[in-house]
């Protein structure tokens, strides 16, 4: 006689029209609690066309089984066998005796030692399951020889088992292994594999540390966890890392993923047995929760072949149902005599209500009523999971999938959470209507959740690793992904080794905005940022963020740059100064309208912590609001003392502001400071202040024209090439920010000091009558930051002299200081306009040198003044090139700034 393991994990409501397909299934009340998880599924008020869980739990013994088993493979659904019914009557009796056998794991001391009520088998028979798809040929003899029983003390219930064994041997003598039907799963084998895994799996790390002897002594990783769970008594589940399973036994892993229902059931049994062995009185059922599968599926790619398999899916919870209490055990009371029935267990989503009182004396018909507060319920919840935006293809809408949560998993995630779910993908058929018998040919699919992990606790994490790959990598340790990630890193590193990486990055930043290369370089520095320093004991910190102010004529695409930066920065906030108030930028306290509690609300600066806060129209902002920025820009915190709340919030943000000059167009007659018209206290907090002037310059115009034309013609020759695309750029920046922390080299430090002193002196030029932004201590900090950022761009751990030099150049260029007349504080527009081409510059340098020589030769210190025209004549004589008066004037003005001569009107005097 062959044993059929008809698995009892549920089969939903049986289909009446299929009643003919006779199937005898026995019930195993003591086992059922084990599978509460899956039982819930079963009790869906829908018909399952097949039992969702078929487990080797309930035994069906019938005489024709060997015959059926032989043809079982070709038609597993066992069409009704005529003589089958003859056996149904004896089934219940047998089952109750036999139950402990199949589960040598199921302890006799089960917490629910319920006997099947006499009425049950009848009920079962009347609602036969639709299939016996995964019946198992069962060899009873083999069962006791599973590793479970091979070691340790004889379990207390062994006698019981022996008795059953005898029973089985009565019927069957051969020793074929037990397979779950339709699979290559041998129950014993899997049983053993799981037990071995649980007992002996050790982390590779800990194993290497300990000696072999100690290794043998110490318990396996999961044994420790089991012990801990038992000690705590609070936990109800054992989390098992699928990677561990794979490492220990790839075959078991594959079986588990392919046939999760069966393998998990065995897992549970083994675990239960294990627990019972350690402490027979431990009553809680520990569930196995598998997580961290080796590969996760994209929701979009779930297809029919994934059904009944274990899948891992990432997504965002968009909706949670209310918690559904599900009846698991019902107790009835007789209205006539007050007799309480034994708990009635849910059977395939149904409770068989006793039709008459069970008490001999009463036996009243239809008197039993449900006692709600004595029934047992379990929690259930349906959650809708939606694809995350990055998985949605262009022009598509996100997919959703339903996920069924049980017990502890209920309310584990809230709408809006990004989660990774491990579960079993299932399908169930849809009835046309509750009254109809026909089943629609459509299947509803859902995932039975086994494990839920929140992949991103908050936005912060996503933002910190802007790089999607880094993100993925953190979330799952897929090998493919990891290797992909490493490939990417290698590529980034290769990029960083390019000699022109700095220029290339510059070109890649807002490639559609032409010119403004130096501004872009500054913005690039801002994106990379310097190192934030925490001064150990004092707790003071030096910011690493670089603040930039763009001041410029209207129509110089400042706003576009801002928009671009907003797009690029990990968590950029874009606000307009006109619409921002002080509180809107920092933080404010409000009263919650419902509770009346005071609540602290973050403003834009706090929200862009570790990002870039872009403030457009900075000049239109009220003074009050601007003054709030003082603290943020240096201390990087926002302090609030209001309505009883005293708080200091982090606002480690780089500020990128842009403003128009005070008279909306740059007035060359006024000094830079007067044009910007912002308090120096605030100005000094900006590391770089860029003057973007709309210079009438044919070269620029030509380049602009060329740019536009090329945009239209899409001429490959004209278009900018060798540009990093946006994602690469973002990846590059985030990698650098995360992993590169450059330190100043000694030479660089020296160069820094030297240049700084020089800069200080320049501000003190005699005769300067307007306030000029002189170098302050703040400036040296920002120079360090800039040079650090520049080193980061090269993925260099050391700041070199070149970086420092470039930092100084950036600072100079920013204010167009090279063109600033330090004696007046104004910008010499002529200087800017002409000072473009390199050849022009060398020519001018030549003239300057010639003029200097001439002045040194001809003029005596404090001597009489000379007319400029005379000098010009002299120059023309001396040099071979053509010299104009304007050239001379430029040279002279440079000499003036050097303090060599005084230039009044048309006369020159040496001092």
């Amino acid at each position: 006689m062959t044993g059929y393991l008809q698995c009892g994990r549920s089969s939903g409501n049986a289909l009446p029209q299929l009643a003919s397909s006779r199937e005898i299934s026995l019930h195993f009340p003591p086992i059922l609690p084990l599978f509460s998880l899956t039982l819930l599924v079963a009790s869906f008020p829908a018909n399952f066309s097949r039992p969702p869980f078929l487990l080797p739990l309930n035994l069906t013994w019938s005489d024709e089984q060997s015959a059926m088993a032989s043809n079982g493979h070709s038609s597993p659904f066992g069409q009704a066998t005529p003589n089958g019914n003859s056996n149904s009557s004896q089934t219940p009796r047998r089952s109750s005796r036999r139950r402990t056998n199949n589960s040598n794991s199921s302890p006799a001391s089960s917490p629910f030692p319920l006997e099947t009520p006499p009425s049950r088998p009848a009920g079962v028979a009347s609602t036969p399951t639709t299939s016996r798809r995964r019946g198992t040929r069962h060899n009873p003899n083999a069962t006791p020889s599973t590793p479970l029983s091979t070691d340790d003390a004889v379990p207390p219930y062994s006698s019981d088992r022996d008795e059953n064994d005898n029973m089985e041997t009565d019927g069957q003598d051969d020793t074929t292994p037990v397979f779950v039907w339709g699979t290559n799963i041998s129950v014993q084998e899997v049983n053993g594999a799981i037990l071995r895994f649980l007992r002996h799996f050790r982390d590779a790390r800990s194993a290497s540390e300990s000696s072999e002897a100690a290794d043998l002594m110490s318990e396996g990783k999961y044994m420790r966890v089991v012990h801990r769970i038992m000690e705590l008594e609070g936990a109800e589940s054992l989390d098992i890392d699928a990677h561990d399973v794979f490492e220990y036994d790839p075959d078991l892993y594959n079986k588990m993923v392919r046939y999760p229902l069966e393998v998990l059931a065995i897992f549970d049994i083994v675990l239960m047995d294990l627990v019972a062995r350690i402490d027979p009185l431990f009553e809680k059922h520990i569930q196995t929760r598998i997580h961290n599968l080796k590969s996760s599926v994209c929701m979009r790619n779930l297809n029919p072949s994934d059904i009944e398999k274990m899948v891992s899916i990432k997504g965002m919870i968009i909706r949670c149902s209310s918690i559904i209490p599900e009846l698991k055990e019902a107790i009835f009371r007789c209205l006539v005599c007050g007799f309480y029935s034994d708990p009635v267990l849910v059977d395939r989503g149904r409770i068989n209500e006793p039709t008459r009182c069970l008490r001999e004396e009463c036996k009243a018909m239809n008197s039993m009523s449900l006692v709600h507060n004595r029934c047992r319920f379990a929690d259930k919840q349906i959650v809708k999971l939606q694809e995350t935006p990055d998985e949605i293809p262009e022009g598509g809408t996100p997919h959703t999938v339903s996920v069924l949560m049980h017990d502890k998993l209920v309310d584990a995630g809230k709408p809006g959470d990004r989660v990774e779910i491990t579960g079993i993908y299932r399908a169930m058929s849809v009835r046309v209507g509750p009254s109809q018998r026909t089943v629609k040919s459509i299947f509803k699919t859902y995932i039975d959740c086994l494990h839920l992990k929140k992949t991103d606790k908050s936005r912060l994490q996503i933002d910190d690793s802007v790089n999607h790959d880094a993100n993925n990598n953190a979330a799952n340790h897929e090998e493919d992904d990891a290797s992909l990630y490493h490939d990417k890193i290698e590529k980034l590193k290769e990029l960083s080794k390019l000699p022109d990486i700095y220029d290339r990055l510059t070109r890649s930043l807002a490639p559609n905005i032409w010119e403004l290369d130096d501004v872009k370089r500054g913005l690039l520095c801002q994106l990379f940022g310097g190192n934030a320093l925490k001064l150990g004991s004092s707790g003071a910190s030096l910011r690493g963020d670089i603040n930039i102010l763009l001041v410029g004529d209207p129509g110089t695409s400042k706003s576009q740059l801002l928009q671009y930066m907003h797009k690029l920065s990990p968590r950029g906030i874009y606000t307009s100064g006109r619409g921002s108030s002080a509180v809107g930028l920092t933080a404010y306290v409000t009263k919650d309208p419902e509770t009346g509690e005071t609540v602290l609300e973050s403003g834009a600066l706090v929200l862009s912590d570790r990002g870039v806060c872009c403030i457009d129209e900075f000049d239109k902002m009220s003074d009050n609001a601007r003054s709030m920025l003082h603290e943020v820009m240096e201390q990087q915190t926002v302090s609030i003392a209001k309505a009883g709340i005293i708080a200091s919030l982090n606002a480690r943000t780089s500020v990128l502001a842009c403003a128009n000059p005070s008279e909306s167009r740059y007035n060359p007659r006024l000094s830079v400071i007067d044009n910007i018209h912002l308090p120096p206290t605030l100005l000094s907090r900006f590391d770089l202040i860029y003057l973007i002037l709309d210079k009438a310059d044919e070269q620029t115009d030509r380049r602009l024209a060329k740019h536009i034309v090329s945009l239209f013609f899409q001429n490959p020759d004209n278009s900018v090439h060798e540009v990093l695309d946006l994602t690469t750029l973002v990846a590059y920046i985030s990698y650098a920010k995360k992993h590169i922390h450059p330190v100043l080299s000694d030479e660089a430090a020296e160069e820094l000091t030297r240049q700084y002193v020089q800069m200080r002196q320049r501000g003190n030029t005699p005769g300067s009558r307007k306030k000029v932004i002189t170098a302050t201590a703040r400036q040296i900090e920002s120079l360090i930051r800039l040079s650090e950022a520049l080193a980061r761009m090269r993925f260099s751990q050391v700041v070199e002299v070149g970086d420092v030099a470039e930092a100084f150049r950036l600072l100079e260029v920013a204010l167009q200081q090279s063109a600033t007349d330090h004696s007046t504080g104004t910008i010499d527009m002529d200087l800017i306009m002409t000072g473009i081409s390199a050849s022009e510059r060398t020519r001018r340098e030549n003239i300057l040198a010639a003029t200097r020589n001439l002045v040194m030769e001809k003029l005596v210190t404090g001597g009489p003044a000379v007319r400029a025209l005379e000098l010009l004549e002299e120059l023309k004589k001396q040099s071979s090139m053509e010299v104009h008066l304007s050239d001379l004037k430029i040279a002279l003005s440079t000499l003036t700034s050097e303090g060599l001569v005084v230039f009044h009107g048309d006369t020159i005097k040496r001092i």
């Binding site: 299939s131 959703t400 399908a427 629609k440 040919s441 030509r702």
Partner: protein
């Protein structure tokens, strides 16, 4: 040989069955499991259908499913449906093939199984994709193809003979009220249909009165087989030819579903299709589908190659028609023509090339009522899809412009800005009064602004926003330059005379053909004039310092459009000069 034994029109399912059986039979000897062979594949029915439709001219005989024809088209027959993919409802697993006794049967192209489904082992699950499609929003009546009259009579007669069962249809006026187009005409036609309603006897009468207006709430659930889901994108206009299914039993049961308390929990699991009961939303099992471009809507287009002189002739007549519409303002008419021809060509991070949104200014409320109306009419008769949004404070504060995902029902609610690509959008700012915008109003304005600047509409998915590229031509009518919505080109209109505008059907047809053809012409680049253009630009910038990048790129766009309007692929100096002249005249008016 010997053609299909089944009438593909009236009994396509028969053909499906027949071809399936044949295919199974042919695969049997090779010992392969037919279900495995035909999963996700076609077994020949599509070929049969293609041959019938396109080689044997069967296409014309296939009735078009719309709100009016829904009343008389028989279920399980072949229909055509033209619509926009409004929402993607994911995929659906169904029992694709199963063994009934010893023969394999298929459920493909069916809602439910006509036979009782055997146990699981003898079935295989296949997969199909669900799309919710609606008639293209803003589709103008001339572009709507409806079933030719004789065909209707023919089919409906056949129906009455067969005393088709009286269908229970929910003639619920607020059936699906998501589609709040401001389409006035439809409500009345809706009413009409409601009157004639469920009684199938009235169908002849019904056919005769306005079938050209799509009912507001009409939509279709299209089930598409055997193709990657990415085949269709959101907001694409597609023609589906497939089997229309309707089962009265399903209707009743759906109704009872809602009543059944037991189902309330289960409802949560249910996919979105429950919110689209088959009684209101017909199902189409798609056999053949093709994406439609605007050109496909112009029926019997002149087959001739776009010859320069023909094009020029049409162009001239169209300009004079447009200038008539605008009170004999030729400059504005020229600009309007360029605007109508504009199309987004290239899109990069910051700049988008090729679009030319137009702001016609100088309208007062009175003149807007005359010219605005004329303009609207002109656009309606010229372009296949057009939409007008009155920018009143009230409208902005209340209207739902942004498409929004309703996670409760799992549906994407259609906002007014969910438009098919190539739709023309007219924004009437003349009706705006001073007032306060609430937060929704501000959001709506920002949405419009974003659309104009980047041709992108943000769809609200509750937890995040998803940007959808939308190609829409925007025309703003306002009193003075609109500061709310930044248009590329601002043209003050100076109407000199109010002339009645008229055009013959022939002319209209030529113009429609002209507009769609020219718009779809490819541009080629002639690099020889690059240098000249650059010089011109530098010169212009020297003269006028206020010229920015946007002005220059607009000139380029206009020059290109100008060239295209003459049917030429690349522009020459001549076109550049014309644009400069228009620019000069325009500047004078500002």
């Amino acid at each position: 040989m010997g053609g299909p034994q089944y009438d593909l029109l009236m009994n396509p399912l028969g053909a499906v069955r027949q071809t399936f059986e044949k295919a199974v039979a042919s695969s049997q000897p090779s010992g392969l499991d037919p279900t495995a062979v035909y999963r996700g594949k076609d077994w020949g029915i599509v070929d049969v259908l293609n041959q019938f439709l396109f080689s044997q001219g069967g296409l014309a005989q296939v009735p078009i499913l719309d709100a009016s024809s829904l009343k008389w088209i028989k279920p399980n027959t072949l229909v055509r449906f033209r619509g926009m993919v409004q929402d993607m409802l994911g995929n659906e697993f169904y029992i694709g093939a199963f063994k009934d006794g010893c023969t394999w049967r298929t459920n493909k192209f069916l809602d439910f199984s006509p036979f009782s489904v055997p146990p699981v082992s003898e079935t295989t699950l296949w997969e199909r994709h669900l799309f919710h499609c609606v008639p293209v929003p803003g589709q103008n009546s001339w572009a709507i193809e409806s079933t030719p009259y004789p065909l209707k009579i023919n089919i409906s007669n056949e129906m009455t003979c067969q005393h088709g069962e009286k269908r229970r249809r929910d003639d619920d006026p607020d059936g699906i009220s998501d589609f709040d187009c401001c389409d006035e005409g439809s409500s009345s036609s809706n009413k009409k249909q409601k009157d004639c309603g469920s009684a199938s006897h009235h169908k002849i009468a019904e056919i005769t009165n306005g079938s050209s207006f799509p009912t507001k709430s009409f939509s279709c659930l299209v089930k598409v087989y055997d193709m990657p889901e990415s085949q269709f994108k959101l907001n694409e206009v597609v023609e589906f030819i497939g089997i229309y299914t309707f089962d009265p039993e399903l209707t009743t049961s759906d109704r009872s579903d809602n009543v059944d308390d037991n189902m309330s929990m289960f409802d949560f699991m249910d996919d979105v299709a429950t919110h689209l009961p088959p009684s209101k939303v017909p199902r189409i099992h798609c056999l053949v589908s093709q994406k439609l471009s605007t050109q496909d809507l112009i029926s019997n287009s002149p087959a001739c190659e776009p010859l320069p002189n023909v094009i020029r002739g049409i162009r001239d007549s169209l300009v004079s028609y447009l200038s008539c519409t605008l009170g004999n303002d030729v400059i504005a008419a020229q600009c309007l023509l360029l605007h109508l021809l504009s199309k987004l060509r290239v899109k990069s991070d910051v700049a988008s090339v090729g679009r030319l949104s137009l702001n016609l200014t100088g309208f007062t409320q009175e003149s807007a009522s005359i010219f605005g109306k004329q303009l609207n009419n002109a656009i309606k008769t010229l372009l296949p899809y057009s939409h007008t949004i009155p920018l009143t404070i009230e409208y902005l504060n209340t209207a739902m412009l942004q498409p929004k995902k309703d996670n409760e029902s799992g549906r994407l609610l259609m906002g007014a800005l969910q438009l098919a690509s190539g739709t023309h959008l007219t924004l009437d700012e003349t009706v705006m009064q001073s007032g306060t915008l609430n937060s929704k109003g501000v959001e709506n304005v920002l949405l419009l602004k974003h659309l104009m600047e980047h041709q992108i509409v943000e769809y609200d998915f509750q937890f995040y926003k998803l940007e959808m590229a939308t190609e829409v031509q925007c025309l703003i009518i306002s009193e003075a330059k609109s500061n709310i919505l930044p248009a590329d080109l601002v043209v003050p209109v100076c109407p000199s005379a109010v002339a009645p505008v008229s055009a013959s059907e022939e002319q209209l047809h030529a113009w429609r053909w002209y507009l769609t053809t020219v718009r779809s012409l490819p541009y080629s680049t002639d690099t020889s004039i690059c240098e000249m253009l650059q010089n011109e630009m530098v010169e212009a910038m020297r003269k006028d310092r206020s010229l920015g990048c946007s002005d220059l790129s607009r000139w380029m766009t206009m020059a290109q459009l100008m060239a295209a309007s003459f049917g030429e692929k690349s522009f020459s100096v001549e076109h550049w000069q014309m644009v400069k002249e228009i620019e000069r005249l325009r500047k004078e008016r500002l």
